[in-house]
Amino acid sequence: MKRLFAYLCPFAGRMSVGLTIKTAGTLVELALPYILGMLLNDIIATYAGSGDTQGGLRSILIWGGVMAVCAVAALVFNIVANRMAAFVAKDVATAIRHDLFDSTMRLSCARADAFTVPSLESRLTSDTYNVHHLVGMMQRLGVRAPILLVGGLLITLTLDPILTLVMFSVMPLIVLTVYIVSKRGVPLYSQSQQAGDAMVRVVREDAQGIRVIKALSRKEYEQSRFEAVNRELMHDSLRAAANTSVSNPLINLFLNVGLVAVMFVGAIRVNNGLCLPGTIISFIQYFTILSNALLSITRIFMMFTKGTASMNRICEVLDAKDRDESESAAEGVMPLPENPERYISFENVTFSYRGKTDNVNAVSFDLPQGGTLGIIGATGSGKTTLLSLLMRFYQVPVGSGTIRIGGRDIRTMTPAELRSRFGIAMQNDFLYAGTIEDNIRFGRDITHEQVVHAAAMAQAHEFISKLADGYDHKLTVKGTNLSGGQKQRLLIARALAGNPDILVLDDASSALDYKTDAALRKALRENAEVQKASLTTTVIVAQRVSSIKHADLILVMDQGEVIGCGTHDELLDTCTVYSEIAESQMGGAILE
C-alpha cells in the first residue's frame, strides 16, 4: 500500500481539491434531512402555534428553496469531484501499469519463469484494473461513506443523543452477523469452488480423452463419474448459498428493530417533553442514510482488500531484484586470447534451475568460428538449457564451469553486448500482429534494404514478394496467416537482419525442407565472402536428426549429459542412442 501512496503523491494537490469538493457535496446532502426535520418540527410548530399561516408558508418556501439549492450544490460538487477522481485514477493507473510492464520486460528469465506468463499477464491486466478501480472509488465512496456515517452520527447526536445511542445499539449485532456469516462462509465458499474445479476437471479430461472413451465405450461410466462431481457441486453450492442467505434478512431485521426502538424510546421522550416528533422523522431519514453508508463501507472494505491484494501482486514484480542487468559475477577472470578454433567454448559447465538436480552436467566442447553445432536429444535432456546458458538467460554460477565466446567469459559482458552478437530463431517463436517488415526489423535500427537482404538470405524473399502487399503484408497475431515454413523463414530473416556473429536456430529449421536448408547455408557463406566478414557461426538445436546431420559437431544430450559428440557418421557408429534416435525417426522423416 505504501507503494500506492507513492504513486498518489504527485497528485496530492489535485486530490485534496477533489476531496474537499466531495466533502462539501456530501455535507450539503446531509443537510437535506436536517432541514426536513427542522421544517416539520420548529418552523411549523412555531407558526402553527402563533396561527401565522402566511408567515409559515413563506418560511416553508424559503427552506424548500434552500433544500433545492443544497440538492443542486450536491449534484454539481459530486459530479466535479467524481470527474477529478477519475482523472487522478487514470493517471495513476497509467503510471503503475507502465512501471509494471517495464519491470516485467526486464525480469530475468529465471524470475519470469517463476512468475509464469499467465500470472504476469493477470497482474498486468486484472490487477492493475483492480487498482485503477480502487483509486477511483476510494476518492468517491471512500470519502462519501465515512462522512455520511460520521456526519449523520454527529447530527443525530445534536438532535437527540439518547435516540442516537438507541439507534446504534443494534450496530454490534450487525457487525457480529457479518463477522459470523463471512467466517463460516469462507470455508464453505472455497469448498464449493473446489467442487466446481473438480467438475470442470472431469469435463476437461473427457474432452481431451474423448477418443479413448469412445473407443472403450465408457460413456455410462463417464456419466456416472460426472454425476458424482455434479451432485457434490450442487450440495456444496447450496450449503454456501444457505449460509450467505442469512446475512441480508438478518441485517435488515436488526436495522428495522433499531428503528422501532428509536420510535418507541422517542415516544417516551416526546411524552416527557424531551424531544419533538419531527426529530423522530429526521431520525428515520438519517437511518436510511446511515444504513446505506454502512453498506458502502463494507463494500469499500471488500474493494480495499481486493485492491491491496492486487497492489501486492504488482509490487512483487516491481520489487523483483534479479533483473537482467545484474552485473557480471566473474570479475578478475582474464580473457583467453582470441582463438578462432575455440570461438564458442563450454568448459565443464554444470547448471541447475532449482538447485536440486542438475539440468546440465559437466558439459564441455569447442566450436570453431563459422562452424555449425547441432544439439539433439529428448525433451528435458538439456538442449534448450545449453542455449539459455549460452545467451545468459540463465547465468552459470562461478565455479560451475565457464562459457566463453571469442575467448571472453560471457559473465564479463553486459547482456546487451552479449546478445547483440546473436540472431535467434526459435520454434513457435514470436511473430506479432504487424507488417512482415516490422516483424523482421523488430524495432531495431535496420534499413529496408537490409530487411530485404536478410529475407533473401533466409529464402523468404521469394514468398514475400509473391504476396500482394509484399513486405507490408499484415500478419495476424502469432502469424497464423502464414504456413509453418514461411514463419520459420521469417524468423530466420529476423535473426539474420542484425548481421549476427552467431545464428541460433532452436528447433527452428525443422519446418524447412532440405533444399531450403541448403540454400540458406549457401547464402550465409556467400554473404560472409561479400561482406569480407568472418563466417556466421551456427548453433542448431533439434529433435530431428535430419535437421542437424550436416553439422560440423553434434552433441547428443540425454538427461543433462553429453553422451555423444562428433559428426553424423561418427555418431551413427559410436553412439547407440544417436543411431536409435535416427532409426526411430525414420518413418516420420522418410517422406519429408
Binding site: 416539520l40 402553527a48 472431469v202 469412445k214 418507541f264 516420420g588
Partner: protein, 622 residues
C-alpha cells in the same frame, strides 16, 4: 452491489462480453421458452417462492404505514384538537401495539425472505445440476469431430461459466425484478392512500429520472464497450509480448516494446476515463432527482401539514398529519430505488439469455447418428480389415482421402508411413468410426462397419496413442478402465507385461495411488507405459498404435519398446510407424501420400521396386 460486481467482472474477464448482442425476438422467445420448461419442473417450488416473496415484500411495505401510525400517536398536534405542545399526550397504547406489530412484521418478513433465498438457491441449483447433467450426457454422445473443432476451454466455459450465469440470473435477477414490481406498485398504492396530491411530485420526477437514465445509458454503453475493447486489446498485446519475453530479451528490444505498450496503456486508461467521466454523472444525478423529490414532498407536505394545523374546514384531500408525511417520505424512497435498477437488471437478463442460447446450441449439436436399426453386433472378431476406394474429408470441400484402399489380414502388422498431414491419422479415425467416410467400403471380417453397432466395432480395437490419456483417479482405475470384469491379478499381470509394475509398487499407495495434475510426479514415458498396460488388459483383436517419437529418455524408450512388442503379439496391428525396426518388421508397409496409398509391400519389396520409398530411404540412411 452484487449485481454491479458481477457485471463488471464479466465485462473485463469475459472475451465474449461484447458478443452478447441483442437477439431477435423469435430467438429470444425460443430461448425463454426453453428456460421456462426447466423451471416448470419445479412449478410448486416456484409458486411457493412467489408467495413467499409476495408476502415478505408486502410485510416490508407495511412498515412505513405502521410507523406512520406510531408517529401520529406521538404527534401532539392532533388534528382534532389543534393547539400547543402538550407533554404527556402520547397515546402509548397505540405506540406499544404498533411497535410490537412492526417488530412482528419485520421478523416474519426476515424469516420469509431467508426462506425465499434458500428456496431460490435450491431451485436454481437443481436447474443448474440438471442442465450440467444434460450437457455432459450430450457431450458424451457428440461425435469426435466436435471435440476436434472446439477448444476444450470453450466446452468447459459452456458447462461452467454459461450455466453459472444463467443460474445467477434465475435465482437473483428474476426475484429482484418481481420484488421491484411489488415494491413500486405497493409504494404507489400506499402513497396514493396517504395523499394523492403529494404523489403529483412523482409525475414530474419519475419521467425525468427514467428519461435521464435511458438517455445516459444509451450514451454511455458504447463508451463502456469501448473500454472493454481497449482493455481486451491491451490484454492481447501484453499476452503477445509476454509470450515473446525471451525473444525480446535476445534482441534487447525491451525499451521499444515498452514504449509501444505505453500507447495501448494510454488508450485503455483514456477509454476507462471517458466512460468514467460520463458515468460519474449518473449517481449524483439520480441522487439529485431523489433529493428534488424529497424537497418537493417536504415543501408540499409542510404546506399541507401547516394548513391542516391552522386552517379549519380544509378539503379532506389536503389534510395530512406528521405521521403521514413521514410514511410518505419513506415510501417515496422505496419507490424511486427500483426504478433506477431496472435498466441494470435488464442487461443482466440479456447476458443470461445469451448464455442460455449458447447452452442450448450445444445441446442441439447433432449427436453421433444412431446405429442402423438392423445393425449387428460384431462378435468373435478375427481381425481382418479392408478399406476399398475410400473418399473422405473433414469438411466436404476439402477431400483428404481420394479413394484409399488397404487390406490387413488377421495378425498382420501394417506400418503406415508418410509425412504429417498425408492422412495417416485420418485412416485410424475412419477405421474406428470416429468419423464416417463419405464413400467406399470399410469392412471388418467382411462386415461393412456401418452395418455394425459402434460399440461392438470399437470394442474390437484397442489403441495406444501418442497423446497419453490418464484421468484423475487411482492407477488401478486407470489401467482397468474399459475392461469390465478384470481382476486385480489381471491388472497386475498387465502392468508387469507393460514393465510398469515396479514403478507402480514404488508409489506411496501402490496401485491405489491417485493420479492428479498436482500430485505425484509421473513422467511422460511412465504415462505411456500405463496406457500400454491398459491396452494390454483388453483382448481386442486389433491394435492401433501411434508410435511416439523420441520424446522420452533412452532408458524409458527401451522399456516402452519392449512393452509394445508384447502388446502387438497375436493382434492385427495398424501402426503409424516412426521406427525403422517397426517398418522393417511390418508385414505390409503403406506409404500414404496426399490421401492415397502410393506404395505398399514389405521393406524389401519396396526397396527392390526402387520407388519413392526406396529413394528416400537411401537418401536418409546412407
Amino acid at each position: 452491489m452484487n449485481n454491479q460486481n458481477r457485471g463488471m467482472g464479466r465485462s473485463i474477464n469475459d472475451p465474449r462480453a461484447n458478443q452478447n448482442q441483442k437477439m431477435d425476438k423469435a430467438r429470444r422467445t425460443r430461448v425463454v421458452g426453453r428456460i421456462l420448461r426447466y423451471m416448470l419442473h419445479y412449478k410448486w417450488a416456484m409458486l411457493a417462492a412467489f408467495l413467499l416473496m409476495l408476502i415478505s415484500n408486502l410485510l416490508a411495505l407495511a412498515g412505513p404505514a405502521l410507523s406512520g401510525v406510531v408517529i401520529n400517536a406521538i404527534d401532539p398536534f392532533d388534528t382534532a384538537n389543534s393547539g400547543g405542545i402538550a407533554v404527556g399526550k402520547v397515546d402509548f397504547d397505540t405506540v406499544k401495539l404498533y411497535c410490537l406489530l412492526l417488530i412482528i412484521f419485520y421478523a416474519v418478513s426476515a424469516v420469509m425472505s431467508y426462506a425465499l433465498a434458500v428456496l431460490m438457491a435450491w431451485i436454481s441449483q437443481r436447474i443448474s445440476y440438471t442442465m450440467r447433467r444434460e450437457v455432459f450426457a450430450h457431450l458424451t454422445e457428440l461425435p469426435v469431430g466436435y471435440f476436434d473443432t472446439h477448444q476444450t476451454g470453450e466446452i468447459v466455459s459452456h458447462i461452467s461459466y454459461d450455466i453459472d450465469t444463467l443460474n445467477a440470473s434465475l435465482s437473483h435477477d428474476l426475484l429482484q425484478i418481481c420484488a421491484s414490481v411489488i415494491t413500486v406498485v405497493g409504494s404507489l398504492i400506499m402513497m396514493l392512500t396517504i395523499s394523492p396530491l403529494l404523489l403529483c411530485v412523482f409525475i414530474i420526477t419519475v419521467p425525468v429520472s427514467i428519461l435521464f437514465t435511458r438517455y445516459k445509458t444509451k450514451k454511455i454503453r458504447p463508451l463502456f464497450r469501448k473500454r472493454s475493447a481497449m482493455l481486451g486489446e491491451l490484454n492481447g498485446y501484453a499476452e503477445e509480448m509476454l509470450s515473446g519475453h525471451r525473444t525480446i530479451k535476445a534482441y534487447h528490444r525491451e525499451s521499444e516494446i515498452v514504449s509501444r505498450f505505453d500507447g495501448h496503456n494510454r488508450e485503455a486508461c483514456e477509454a476507462y476515463y471517458r466512460a468514467d467521466y460520463q458515468g460519474s454523472v449518473i449517481g449524483p444525478t439520480v441522487n439529485f432527482i431523489n433529493n428534488l423529490s424529497l424537497t418537493l414532498i417536504t415543501v408540499l407536505g409542510g404546506v399541507f401539514y401547516l394548513m391542516t394545523l391552522t386552517v379549519t374546514g380544509l378539503h379532506p384531500l389536503l389534510v395530512i398529519n406528521l405521521g403521514d408525511v413521514s410514511a410518505f417520505v419513506q415510501y417515496s424512497r422505496k419507490f424511486s430505488g427500483p426504478i433506477n435498477e431496472f435498466a441494470n437488471i435488464l442487461s443482466e437478463f440479456q447476458s443470461a439469455a445469451s448464455a442460455a442460447e449458447r447452452i442450448f446450441n450445444l445441446l442441439d449439436e447433432p449427436a453421433e447418428p444412431a446405429d442402423k436399426v438392423d445393425a449387428e453386433a460384431l462378435t468373435d472378431t478375427q481381425g481382418a480389415v479392408e478399406m476399398t476406394d475410400v473418399h473422405f474429408g473433414y469438411v466436404p470441400e476439402k477431400e483428404i482421402l481420394h479413394g484409399l484402399s488397404l487390406r490387413a489380414d488377421k495378425g498382420d502388422l501394417v506400418a503406415i508411413v508418410g509425412p504429417t498431414g498425408a492422412g495417416k491419422t485420418t485412416v485410424i479415425n475412419l477405421l474406428m468410426r470416429f468419423y464416417d467416410k463419405q464413400s467406399g467400403t470399410v469392412t471388418v471380417d467382411g462386415h461393412e462397419i456401418t452395418d455394425l453397432t459402434r460399440d461392438s466395432l470399437r470394442r474390437a480395437y484397442t489403441m495406444v496413442l501418442q497423446d497419453t490419456w490418464l484421468f484423475c483417479g487411482t492407477v488401478y482405475n486407470n489401467i482397468v478402465y474399459g475392461t469390465e470384469g478384470a481382476t486385480r491379478e489381471d491388472v497386475v499381470a498387465a502392468a508387469k507385461a507393460a514393465h510398469i509394475h515396479r514403478f507402480i509398487e514404488s508409489l506411496p499407495e501402490g496401485y491405489d495411488t491417485v493420479l492428479s495434475d498436482d500430485g505425484i510426479n509421473i513422467s511422460k514415458g511412465q504415462k505411456q507405459l500405463l496406457t500400454i498396460a491398459r491396452a494390454m488388459l483388453s483382448d481386442a483383436p486389433i491394435l492401433i498404435l501411434d508410435e511416439a517419437t523420441s520424446n522420452v529418455d533412452s532408458r524409458t524408450e527401451k522399456l516402452i519398446q519392449d512393452a509394445l512388442y508384447a502388446l502387438m503379439k497375436g493382434r492385427t496391428c495398424f501402426v503409424i510407424a516412426h521406427r525403422l525396426s517397426t517398418i522393417k518388421n511390418a508385414d505390409k508397409i503403406l506409404v500414404v501420400r496426399d490421401g492415397l496409398v502410393t506404395e505398399q509391400g514389405t521393406h524389401e519389396e519396396l526397396l527392390a521396386s526402387g520407388g519413392f520409398y526406396a529413394s528416400l530411404y537411401n537418401a536418409q540412411f546412407t
